[in-house]
């Protein structure tokens, strides 16, 4: 076994372990943290596959932003663990069935029949000077320009829609307008008056 293979199996084992913990832990915060660990190990595997740009972006976007917001929400929820535990045995057959069907489907699509080594040969290893980021960028902004832009616009629409859903007028909320605060002059607030001392 080469060193690379050994590293791959270490990362893969951690990944499978973390993914199992995500769905078996009772505490949702622990699940979210194990999901973070799963992202890290899959980023490690991607690094081994010479996809360093994707690996770093996986950490940056999913670990650095998405999971932080996830944790943010999960930590604030007051979840009753007892109700979560109930009904596990009852729902298990359905769960197993769904999992089995999904596994079979995945095997049929990405199994050796379609993605075997004789169908898709392993890509040749690139030299040290190879710049993954530059290669991706030059293809993304030339050949795949339109799909890329369309994806960007769809995301933008999604952002606007999400913000639009949470917008509501609440007349009772008080807020300050900083520009008004900044424009304030001494004369608007303060009046110096002269008066005789009283005794």
């Amino acid at each position: 076994m080469t060193f690379e293979k050994f590293v791959f199996y270490v990362f893969a084992a951690i990944l499978v372990f973390a993914a199992t913990m995500v769905i078996t832990r009772r505490n949702p915060v622990h699940s979210a943290l194990f999901l973070v660990l799963a992202f890290f190990s899959s980023a490690g595997i991607w690094l081994l596959a010479e996809a360093e740009f994707l690996a770093i972006v996986l950490i940056l976007v999913y670990v650095g932003a998405v999971m932080v917001l996830f944790l943010f929400v999960v930590m604030m929820l007051d979840i009753d663990l007892a109700t979560l535990k109930a009904g596990f045995i009852k729902h298990m057959p359905v769960g197993v069935l769904v999992a089995l069907v999904m596994a079979i489907e995945m095997f049929m699509v990405v199994g050796p029949a379609n993605f075997g080594l004789e169908k898709v040969p392993a890509p040749a290893a690139q030299g040290a000077g190879y710049n993954n980021t530059e290669e991706l960028g030059s293809v993304l902004y030339t050949v795949y320009m339109y799909p890329f832009e369309i994806a960007a616009v769809i995301l933008l629409v999604g952002i606007i829609a999400a913000i639009g859903l949470t917008m509501r007028k609440r007349p009772e909320t008080k807020f300050q307008d900083p520009s008004v605060q900044v424009r304030v002059k001494k004369a608007d607030r303060l009046r110096v008056i002269k008066m005789d001392a009283e005794d």
Partner: protein, 350 residues
Amino acid sequence: MDSLIALWEWLGTNLIVLQILIKIVVIVAPLMLCVAYFTYAERKLIGYMQVRIGPNRVGPKGWLQPIADAVKLMFKEIVIPTKANKVLFLIAPLLTLGPALAAWAVFPFSDGLVLADLNAGLLYILALTSIGVYGVIIAGWASNSKYAFLGAMRSAAQIVAYEIAMGFALVGVLVAAGSLNLGEIVRAQQSDAGIFGWFWLPLFPLFIIYFISGVAETNRAPFDVAEGESEIVAGFHVEYSGMPFAVFFLGEYANMILISALTALLFMGGWLSPLPASWVDGVFLLGDGIHWLFLKTAFAGFFFLWFRATFPRYRYDQIMRLGWKVFIPITIVWILVVGLMVVYQFAWFS
């Protein structure tokens, strides 16, 4: 000397792991010493700004104060709150310190003097600084304390907000330099204009926003609502004592040094001399060299301390407004301006 060099080369070919470990120690040990004396500099400087003397009892002029503090923290009892989640409680400080140290792996100290010359170095640094927030969130949650949790929530929202502005500022640098490699970014600032050829001038708004976002990312004054002594006692690390607290402390200061060093690298020309290269090339200490990087880092680090002594703490809604409604729009506009400057090869980019 020759035998030492020979031994080093032998290590490089036969025991590369040991060679890399030695390099790591050579980077981290002085860094830890810098962290210790940064705390001393902070107490001394803020002391003088407030017309008092600061620590002056331990050692000559108080120079041994940070050592005394470290020894004190090491021998303090580690108190773990009864209902706290023990594992996460103890992992959290490491998650703050770890990324702050790991980021130095791609940091070029001088031309070619770098542990790992990654061609996606800037991206790596962005990814690592973005996971620093986990230490704070997990600490707040695992402490099982209201104050700690409130501090963690505040800091999470703040860090996520300022990270975007910070990322956009770095996009500007990336457009200007045309590379993600930190060494290449410094070399792109090399010109015969010396200090005026560095990126702080064409990217001035991004330079300011990057540094202020850096202050906010490290939860330093005036953005230190995560600690907010006056309202939530000490925020996320209220339940920490002894060594775990010390690790948080180390992490915060290591992060400050990292942000200062990155500002020096990305906007202030890294190891380049501020004088035009044609005047000082090869002149002792005036030419390019690692000492310029140290000077620039110290200069940026001084601002962290100066801010703390000068500004009152921001109100929370003002922090959010500044991050989302002021910084992000400015960075987006300036990225466009930088793009135009690069395309039309304006002054710096010809």
